[in-house]
Amino acid sequence: MKAIDNFRRNLNTEDDTRAFGLEIAEALEPGDVVALIGDLGTGKTALTKYIAEGLGVTEEINSPTFTIVKEYRSGRLPLYHFDVYRLGSGEELLDIGAEEMLDGDGVCVIEWADIVADVLPDDAAAIQLEYGENEGERIAEFL
């Protein structure tokens, strides 16, 4: 991943989230892993949508909870969008064949990444999303 300012972001509006997503997308290189950590409703899927937009993905990005991972190939790099909410451990992630994707030609964005932290590469970009002070506000922090 190319250098990105890793200060804490206040995402007060949807536009802020979009700008952050586009900024991440700009920095992504093949083999990168973005690990998103945050409670239900903190905007993990929303941020992923904007990362996808930044990569030039034209398909609709929706929640991959049902199939754990969805693959998009219309952008600058292949995007593997994971939602590991239903998994119990990193081992289960490997069981579904994620190794190839983690170590592949594209980029992985993983929601609920804390669940599978033990099998993610050390250089994964971990981003924590939290609720801000007011409704609709979020805070993003690089870990």
Partner: protein
């Protein structure tokens, strides 16, 4: 063939259920065996792929054997095998596809791959024997919320879908945070009956004017915000009221959009499919709204709403009849689109 009837064996392993069924002439269910893993998943609050694959593997042969025994047929009577090849969990899909290929090869039976979503629609051909396209289909499940125009057999035009969470997924997630557990849909349905759907004003999300797409992520956030706010204020949360109000906000939008789609395409029938089609409030509301516009609503019985092999057999039958090429090289496609 048996007694002059064309027999299709349908196999389904895309998610929770290991299922197989024998269907005659695409319409008549001779057997329908479903081995559910829901008990196992309950402990984990969702579908765990590794467990899903392992359990499918343990059960698939018995389930297929029982489907044929229940129907009173043997492999030599089977004219066609249909199997779900997507969308679903890759490890789970592979078990069904491999079993189907092995049997097709060993017994020299044509094999066609079936899109799981086409299967859900075909469930209605089994329930309503005189149903024929055209109609408007509404598929609502744990992984999908889709409005599909069906002008003829095997032709499905997706008109709208979810932009974030599926309806069933939203039910599961909210059920989890209010402590109702998995599976969220039936639990919320039950709790909602004891609650007041107007007690909490969750905003309905209709998106742009005329859009047939859905968005449930914001509604999920609204529910979370409400729970946080009540907890911070030290007020006790009435789970039944949250369930009822949340459910109403989900099903009202679904019902409105399904009816809007039917009107726009001048369809006189809405055909419901998928697990969430069993939701009692959704059924009632869509009938009310459609009925006011002279649109009929058809829905399969709950056993055919859930994932099953019979619907896959029916879809396979119509695909084969329409000229689908048998394919022994079939592979699982987890992200299969419509």
């Amino acid at each position: 063939m048996k007694d002059g009837r064309f027999l299709t064996l349908g196999i389904e392993t895309s998610c929770d259920e290991t299922a197989a069924s024998v269907v005659a002439d695409g319409r008549f269910v001779m057997s329908n065996v479903i081995s559910s893993q829901i008990d196992i998943h309950t402990a984990y609050g969702g579908v765990v792929p590794e467990i899903a694959s392992r359990k499918h593997l343990e059960r698939i042969n018995d389930v297929i054997g029982k489907a044929m025994a229940d129907a009173g047929v043997s492999a030599s009577d089977i004219d066609l095998i249909g199997v779900t090849y997507g969308p679903g969990l890759v490890g789970a899909l592979l078990i069904g596809v491999a079993a189907a290929k092995a049997m097709a090869y060993a017994c020299d039976i044509p094999l066609v791959g079936v899109n799981h979503m086409h299967g859900h629609i075909a469930a209605n051909y089994l329930e309503h024997n005189d149903l024929e396209p055209p109609f408007m289909a509404l598929i609502v499940s744990g992984g999908h919320t889709e409005i599909v125009n069906v002008p003829e057999y095997n032709k499905c035009e997706k008109l709208g879908g979810t932009r974030d969470d599926a309806a069933g997924e939203a039910f599961d997630k909210v059920a989890r945070v209010i402590g109702l557990g998995y599976p969220g849909g039936p639990k919320i349905d039950r709790a909602a009956k004891e609650g007041d759907a107007e007690s909490i004003a969750f905003k309905r999300v209709y998106l742009e004017h005329g859009s047939l797409d859905f968005s449930f992520s914001g509604l999920k956030t609204q529910a979370l915000n409400y729970l946080n706010q009540e907890r911070q204020a030290g007020r006790e949360i009435n789970v039944n009221n949250v369930a009822a109000s949340f459910q109403e906000a989900v099903v009202e939008v679904i019902a409105d959009k399904a009816v809007m789609a039917a009107e726009k395409y001048r369809q006189k029938r809405i055909v419901m499919a998928g697990g969430v089609a069993s939701n009692s409030r959704l059924r009632a509301l869509i009938e009310e709204k459609a009925g006011a516009r002279d649109i009929d609503v058809l829905k399969p019985s709950p056993v055919l709403c859930t994932d099953n092999g019979a619907m896959i057999a029916s879809a396979a039958f119509y695909a084969y009849r329409a000229g689908a090429e048998p394919d022994l090289e079939l592979d699982a496609v987890p992200g299969l689109e419509f």
